[in-house]
Symmetry: D2
Subunit: 448 residues, 4 copies
């Protein structure tokens, strides 16, 4: 039988959606978690911006709300009345096609709207969203679901930034306040010896398979699925630890230009780097600032808050290299999508559990530990478009593509990432000098 | 008969004092006014720092408290226990001899202590101060009074900064919130014609007479009283108005380099100045931001928020000049110390009252209007030490003397100054590019 | 049978060499061309540094000489006496392992050594090199040849910089002097219509084959030869022309943020870019500065002095993209290594010759024009190490590898490149905001 | 009897003039000395600009020529033909009313006109000036003489800058070349003990008496002569020496914030000042760069190249202060206008001669040594207009008045000043952080 040309085309978007009921539940869960994170904060904590990259909590709360207002309510609910017209200007981040916006580096100058006004803004938009989701027809929902889903993933990304930005805000305060005083602290002990896991050469399929109707949500930058040839390689079975990084430091890591990229060495000298971000030395002992306050460095836990430059220099010192993002993705395929995510409530990378040791395999057999959660893993891959990449149309096309210059890809999520947010094909990206995210590394090397 | 070596020496300080009871009342009045000013604020408003010169309200509240703690309680009350040892670091401004301090440009990064913790700090220090003042012996009080008095004048200076800093914080917010919505607004009308008042040449005594035991408090920079020769000169009987400044603007004031000092013209070009600070043009009409919100420019009111460069260029355009500080001081001697101070609650310069017009005199007879309050008046005098000047000993000597470079003197107080704070000999000083204070000008010229 | 330990080992270096006689001739040819380029210059022209990236001619003359002195004479001629010990400090560029060096941004502050002293330095080193090459044994020559060869290629790279740096130095002079007044100027005419040439998907071998003993010289960054999978693609048969770029400009190219990478758009706004580097508008006509002086823009000639950002934005506007470096390399394989190099003496890109038009093929048949010479072609490939890449040992390992961050690869050479310097596998690299080299683009697109 | 309106008015200018013949001789002498100074230079030395304040010698040669061309030849010689129209743009310094000008910080980017073209420009203008001076009528000469005289004094100021700028250019070169190798070097010995000379309080006349027809040339900023009241004061009978300054350094001078102005201390920390400009320490010995090369510090010679901040801090450390400019001027009245000027050919401050010692007087009797020449003496006087000051009309009015902000006055000339250029009323002025001129200090104090 011939195809019916009047039948609705396959969804043109790459974004998968769910039915309205479950979407509404997801909406409440994601929006709720944002506010749950804020519970321990004082009003004053919401206001501060320490550097351009670090936005006030108040701004995150409002911007994620603006996203639903701008891309869904204003476009799809004719009766929608904004709470305040100026918010459209104040809470746009970088969507040029969504209009003029307030300077990013001045977000900390805005004492109004107050925190309670921002919560009122959230409630206003949530009400309108609930009304929309409960009244939308199936056809409308078909159209809206991908937008709602991107809005929720967008909010999850900002949840991660809220964690890392609050860490920065509290850390620069000479009082060194903790976000929460009741966070657990992992025992300090020896990390299991590093093992290499091997992978064969070949042509691999890389990226998100958006032809698969059950594949779920992804960002445009993970597509299209395409082929890459990989030479055989090996990957470390766990993350680099603080203890290993201390060895690098004691071996003159920050004083030997031959270990560094030229731009990295310039940064070491200009910024006078002598240890990772958030580390500080007192009386021959290294401490690091955590969301639970200042703590002694635990040698067994994954090293975090490394810039690309530091990760890359460490790898050279260790006679290894960073993996490419394709290598990482291939290696991740057999690994369960589990780990130390924000859902665990540690807000800090954790050492491998005791029983991980016994499980360490022979070369080539796996398993790989800590592939998900704990710290984002720097890859040596520059953040570039996949062959055949097309950004989403309109303002949402500004989400990813326009940043494909000068940044490196990180994989796997961190202890500040939501478990429901991460994927094996997920591409995070940052500039090589940035370290305020939970960022670390796993070593790779060419197959002998 | 030989001098009695046991007799108390003449007070070595230049600072006059009062009896303990009245001092305690003054203490309560000044400290209370600080908190009264804050009543209309939201918690969030206390936190923000927009530029290096503009400190958070929270910081002002704490720093003025730190001053009493550091220079009085820690030195004179052996049993005094600080509330928090870190505050000594956080709330020192620039007193190098008082120890290390937190960077001035990072005051807006500090969310803790919270506003209520800062109020608790104030209460803690106030309690200790009250206990000290009520229990001190006459001899102790003799010693302490000058320190308490300088602490109160110091707090009054910070009250003025709290007004001007809050104005800046609210003004950069695109919502343009008002500090208070109930501030009165002067009627717009014609300013009375400017008249010149003449003064004779001669050797004059300038500065505060600290040999006079009834003279009251002054800062060290107003001393010693000394002689200066002045050529005969004339002073305008009122301040320059917004209407007059608009004429300057319409005559190309911001486009004609020959009207400007070289450094001023460089600033005009670099910062693209085209009107005074806080002014903005909408549809052929000029508005200015006030603590009562955005308002149309009132031509009759004194022009304010001018940098030295603008005041100086205006004077040249008007075929006149700025007065020297000695000229201003001599001229002020016959003028009652009254005017539009912060006590009036306008928080904005006011036009001359109607009945001022009738009173305008023939040349040489006076009176001079608006010499006190409304706006600080830029003089052409560089802020330099008087002949024979000696700073106070110790950390308090850092109050004034070390700033005697690159700044110009302003006289007369403003609508943000306390009436009890100002004197005819009072020397305020700012850099020539600064305009966030209530600053304006009065014209002077050489006698024909 | 045991291996003969006396047998010569396979050359451990990747650098191929020639016999001493021909090497000596090459040495004279390359060193001579450097000085030939300088003949039209005045003494004053040798001294100037306009921006950090642009070195004085005097410095290039000395630094290329320092290279031979440092890496060959000091290491291999025990009797060698440097002319001046301080030169080692003054004329090191960035080789950290070769010792301390004079700041790059201060090369224009050094009036001494004078130009004639620099020529004397060249002669001193040339004499020593000639003596070495004429007296070296075969075995010594075997060892030295790769170093001499890298020195000559290094000097050729600096010859290209001498051309582009001198262009910049003369261009910023309001007198707009020409390097030479006798340079020919191509006729202005229509460029032939652009045609697409197609290439099939597959696993390709990319990079320099340093296992081939006849392959000649290459830099370490072109190795190792390795496999990459390419999807099918198409490449334009010629470079983008000034005429096409003018269309982009007239279509608002510099005013439409949606065409630009985020970092590129920031640059457009910060630097107020409105046309390519060296272009200027006078009375509705565009002119560009060339080494022959200021000229009207010729629509038929390849557009040059584009940053990566501009090339990338143009490609997006044209509904195409930049090629990857692997695509470019595959496509170049059938194209003769000929073109408008510095050897032609144009010092400027040239329009396609008339007879090129007739030759334009059907899709997939070729030929590709202007693949070599004229302008370096920006690729979308970030400058990264090839799989298995190893830098040379020692200070020469700083030549390439340490710059593998934040730069993009360009291919094909330019009108300032020596014909004997270029290869199909040659990887040039610059930051995305740089445009003072002869840089342009060729369009690519995914196969339909 | 009524005034005759046809009678010639008194010369309206403040500038005195000479007859044409002597003026022509002065012209040749001053212009000739400029070129004489350049004789030891290489062509390359003329081109370099190291910092914004330091202009290339080539530029000084051309700018002083431009001055005569612009203010005399173009206005007064109708047949005058400029050599090159672009020079008017290239060689204007800061005279806004004389048209657009090339950026000050890019003077070192201009390789053309070449040095010989600049000399040709000088000859072209000199020829026209000679023709004008030899043919001008008495009445014309009356009008021209003040302009020529200001042109010659202007050139003498640039001669001083040529000395100090060349010193800077050569000093930043790691080869540390000398301007001349044959400059004499004063013997190192003990300086005579410092003595104080007293002056009485009173009303004094200050400034140049331009009512006196025989008074000669002055700049507008030295007028009008006016009255100032001075309290009694004392002045040191000689300059501060390097030996005394070393004591200050050894006593922690650069580490004690209480000795410094706030802005000065900020500079000490930001620039990491630990000794005067041009000083450097090697193995426990201090050296200073001179125009004769690097030399050991001679404790007996006047300390030079001090910023205002350093001079002011030294004076505070020495329990003294800097003099005001009026004090200096009054004190200078009885002192012969002799000293170590550029005419002596030392190009460096000299220690007091042996026989100076015997001559040291009792307090109040004088004489004062080293008042003229050696080093400019920082005063504590901000560079401000004298009462009644009027700048010259037109572009020449930009010579002085527009710089009256943020600078301090220096008096007495230096070893780089021409003897015929200096006066007792001469006011030099620089910013408080500048030290590349020959600048030092003499102590003053209030009369006991």
């Amino acid at each position: 039988m011939a195809a019916n040309p009047a039948a609705p085309a396959a969804t043109p978007t790459k974004i998968r959606h769910s039915d309205a009921a479950s979407l509404s539940e997801q909406y409440d869960a994601v929006r709720g978690f944002t506010e749950e994170f804020c519970e321990p904060l004082n009003t004053e904590d919401y206001v501060v911006q320490t550097v351009e990259n670090v936005s006030p909590t108040k701004w995150h709360l409002a911007h994620t709300t603006w996203f639903f207002e701008t891309f869904i309510l204003k476009d799809h609910v004719s009766s929608y009345e904004p709470l305040n017209e100026t918010y459209a200007y104040l809470f746009n981040s970088y969507y040029i096609q969504a209009g003029e916006r307030h300077c990013r580096d001045r977000r900390g100058y805005i004492s109004r709207p107050t925190v309670s006004e921002v919560y009122a803004y959230r409630a206003h938009v949530d009400d309108a969203m609930h009304a929309l989701m409960s009244s939308a027809s199936g056809k409308q929902m078909h159209e809206l679901a991908p937008l709602i889903e991107i809005g929720l993933h967008h909010e999850q990304q900002h949840q991660e930034l809220m964690v890392t930005d609050m860490k920065h805000v509290l850390s620069v305060n000479p009082l060194r306040p903790a976000y929460r005083d009741d966070l657990t602290r992992a025992e300090s002990r020896e990390a299991p010896a590093l093992q290499w896991v091997g992978f064969d050469e070949g042509v691999y399929e890389i990226g998100f398979d958006d032809e698969d109707p059950d594949a779920g949500f992804c960002y445009d930058n993970e597509t299209p699925r395409h082929r890459e040839f990989l030479e055989s390689f090996q990957l470390a079975n766990r993350l680099v630890t603080c203890g290993e990084y201390l060895e690098f430091m004691r071996d003159g890591g920050y004083e030997r230009p031959e270990l560094w990229l030229s731009a990295g060495w310039a940064m070491v000298q200009e910024k006078e780097w002598t240890e990772p971000f958030y580390w500080e030395a007192h009386d021959d002992q290294y401490y690091l600032y955590t969301l639970g306050g200042l703590r002694e460095v635990n040698p067994a836990e994954p090293v975090s808050h490394l810039s690309y430059y530091e990760a890359e220099a460490f790898a050279r010192w260790a006679d290894a290299r960073l993996p490419t993002e394709a290598e990482w993705e291939i290696a991740s395929r057999g690994v369960p999508l589990e780990g130390n995510f924000v859902d665990e409530g540690h807000f800090h990378p954790q050492p491998l559990p005791e029983d991980a040791e016994g499980a360490v395999p022979e070369l080539g057999d796996g398993p790989l530990h800590q592939m998900f959660g704990d710290v984002w893993e720097w890859t040596r891959s520059h953040y570039s478009p996949y062959p055949g990449y097309e950004p989403l149309p309109g303002a949402l096309g500004e989400y990813n593509g326009k940043f494909m210059c000068g940044q490196f890809v990180l994989r796997g999520g961190s202890c500040a990432t939501s478990r429901s947010h991460i994927r094996r094909t997920y591409r995070n990206f940052f500039h090589p000098d940035e370290a305020w995210q939970f960022m670390g590394l796993r070593l790779a090397r060419d197959a002998g």
